[in-house]
Symmetry: C2
Subunit: 373 residues, 2 copies
């Protein structure tokens, strides 16, 4: 255990969704601070859902912080990894809730990365048709992306995040101190989603990331605080305009259509989600270039930044016989597809993304070009 | 196959929930009528979910009626019965959707009773985080209760309807002609939910049911049309005021707390849901009497009507050693419970229900009194 530093709240970003609005608290050592939770509704029970990696690091601190707020606090520990984001693990959450005779006011806490957040949020959406929950993301990816905006889901063997709900948390508590224990590979995966906000929405932020990527990889506190805050602000602006992804929100999936194919094709958990998205962004940017929307210099610049962040930029071969066809097959179950036509998030220009279809032959060329070193 | 009669639309009841508002069409032979669906959104695909009993009777008619509206119409047939309202069957719906590469605009049709409606609705709520669906209830119970109001769920081995969502259909199409093929036991089970609306909301309707219960059991068309319409009107009024059951809506669960204990204690599917609710209403009315809210004459009157409808009015013994304790244990996982305290829907007076706790000893006495002939 590290000596606890005194908690510092750096900033608060508000997600504005009418009666479903909520704050994102961003700070240092705020996870174990009772005041981070003191205005939550009181209830007889809380259930902390976490994984085998995160539990020994932070479950005690969270439990202590909640001690005066809930009469009983249970902890459920699931295995770690995307391969476990499935119905069997989700059911363990329901089993625990029912074994504890948890009522409808029970508050769930998702303590961990994106997998824990997505599964706990979906469990909260479904248990007794909806109980409150709080996101306590402990990975960079979860802090800048998956814990914010209310997308919850589990994977189906035939497609990622295919079974889920839009269901907003009561709040998100981003403790930057947890990033100190994050392995380098997870840090890079999180940076993929940070970098994403540049090409789709804010090229000034992209410039800033280029200038600070080394500081971020070295866990510089001020740099991390800015990266998390700006990412959450952009996500809040987009989600506030389109909660249920009927339009604008889809731009947040830049790189994800190709990325999901990589994750599903290799088997969930082989590549981290952020790694697949990073590589997927190279593919989506290359597609944007073929469509005549951005130039090759920008694609090279994006590829270079992803590489510096420690991310793979060459796509894996998913099939020896017909690799492009295998990618296409996997992409056709994408949630943005309509009537069998895949719809891609492409860059209209650096800093602005749009959703549109693309000719199959062009997409196949992009896959071929991006899957060889 | 019967010779098709010409379709007649008797009435339309509106559920008013802002942008989630929708109509309930009530009529004779409206299920196979294209105009019942003609203003639904167009989509490439529809999936009809039905069961082995209903499919040979009505799936062809529904499929024909939809033929010009959807390019592809798939049919998925599940086993029949409450014992199958579980995750395994729900997953078959997801499997079918993914195998068909169904997109987010795909419309699901729930063709069957309450089990099919609850499961199909929940699948629609979760597939790609929400696709549209239509209820086509073919049992009296589903027409007067479960298809209306957006409650969807599956059972968990430890509790009925524990995993689910509030998710409204695009419309409900109640075809009274389907009730002609309904077995007597299912008819009686549906009448339990019709009778329920009397004591909780409308004693004039209760008087009417007393006068027409024989006509209803004989499938008198005019009587059925009135029973379905008035039931849907009352449900629409209650749900329109409290969609997510934060207050008033709980009165619709009159008899259900005891009833769920009966269903879970005997094993799902032993007693039909409506049978358990009928018997549960006798228990809840008896509890209301012990609480000094209604008199014994009213309890006798309710018991008598349920009996005439063909429903069981004596509770089953769930445990030879301590029957009341077993009921209590099963009731503590009820969704209305708070901090381990069971909350009962009781009658403040005939025609008005309220939710309140009751002393354990009194509830145990009621169970003892109601479980012996």
């Amino acid at each position: 255990m590290q000596a606890p530093s005194s908690p510092t709240l750096f900033s608060q970003v508000q997600i504005s969704l009418g009666e479903r609005s909520y704050p994102i608290l961003i700070g240092d050592s705020v996870l174990g601070e009772p005041s981070s939770y003191s205005d939550l509704p009181r209830a007889a029970q809380a259930l902390i859902v976490t994984n085998t990696t995160v539990k020994p690091l932070y479950a005690d601190a969270l439990q202590s912080a909640l001690r005066h707020h809930f009469r009983q606090i249970h902890v459920l520990t699931l295995p770690d990894g995307e391969a476990y984001k499935n119905w069997e693990q989700l059911n363990l959450i329901f089993d625990a809730l029912l074994q504890n005779t948890s009522d409808r006011k029970t508050v769930l806490f998702a303590l961990g990365g994106g997998v824990i957040g997505d599964m706990t949020g979906f469990a909260a959406a479904c248990y007794m048709r909806g109980v409150p929950f709080v996101q306590v993301p402990t990975t960079l990816l979860a802090q800048v992306d998956s814990s914010v905006g209310g997308k919850t889901a589990i994977n189906h063997p035939m497609g990622k995040n295919m079974i889920g709900a839009f269901y907003q948390p009561l709040r998100v508590v981003c403790d930057l101190a947890t990033l100190k224990t994050l392995p380098g590979r997870e840090m890079a995966a999180g940076l993929a989603e940070v970098i994403k906000y540049g090409p789709i929405y804010d090229m000034e932020f992209f410039d800033w990331i280029e200038a600070h990527v080394d500081a971020l990889l070295e866990h510089d506190a001020a740099a991390l605080a800015h990266a998390v805050q700006r990412s959450c602000q952009i996500k809040a602006e987009v989600v506030g305009q389109d909660e249920r992804e009927s339009g604008l929100r889809a731009i947040l999936n830049f790189g994800h259509t190709f990325g999901h194919a990589i994750e599903a094709g290799l088997g969930y958990g082989q590549w981290l989600h952020g790694e697949a998205v990073g590589c997927g962004m190279v593919m989506a940017a290359t597609l944007s270039q073929r469509l005549g929307l951005v130039d090759g210099a920008f694609v090279a610049r994006l590829r270079q930044l992803l590489k510096r962040a420690g991310l793979p930029v060459v796509g894996p071969v998913l099939s020896q016989s017909d690799n492009a066809a295998r990618y296409m097959e996997l992409m056709r179950v994408d949630k943005k597809a309509e009537a069998g036509e895949i719809r891609f998030v492409v860059l209209q220009k650096p800093g602005k993304a749009v959703v549109q279809p693309a000719p199959d032959a062009m997409v196949a060329e992009v896959i071929d070009a991006c899957c060889q070193p």
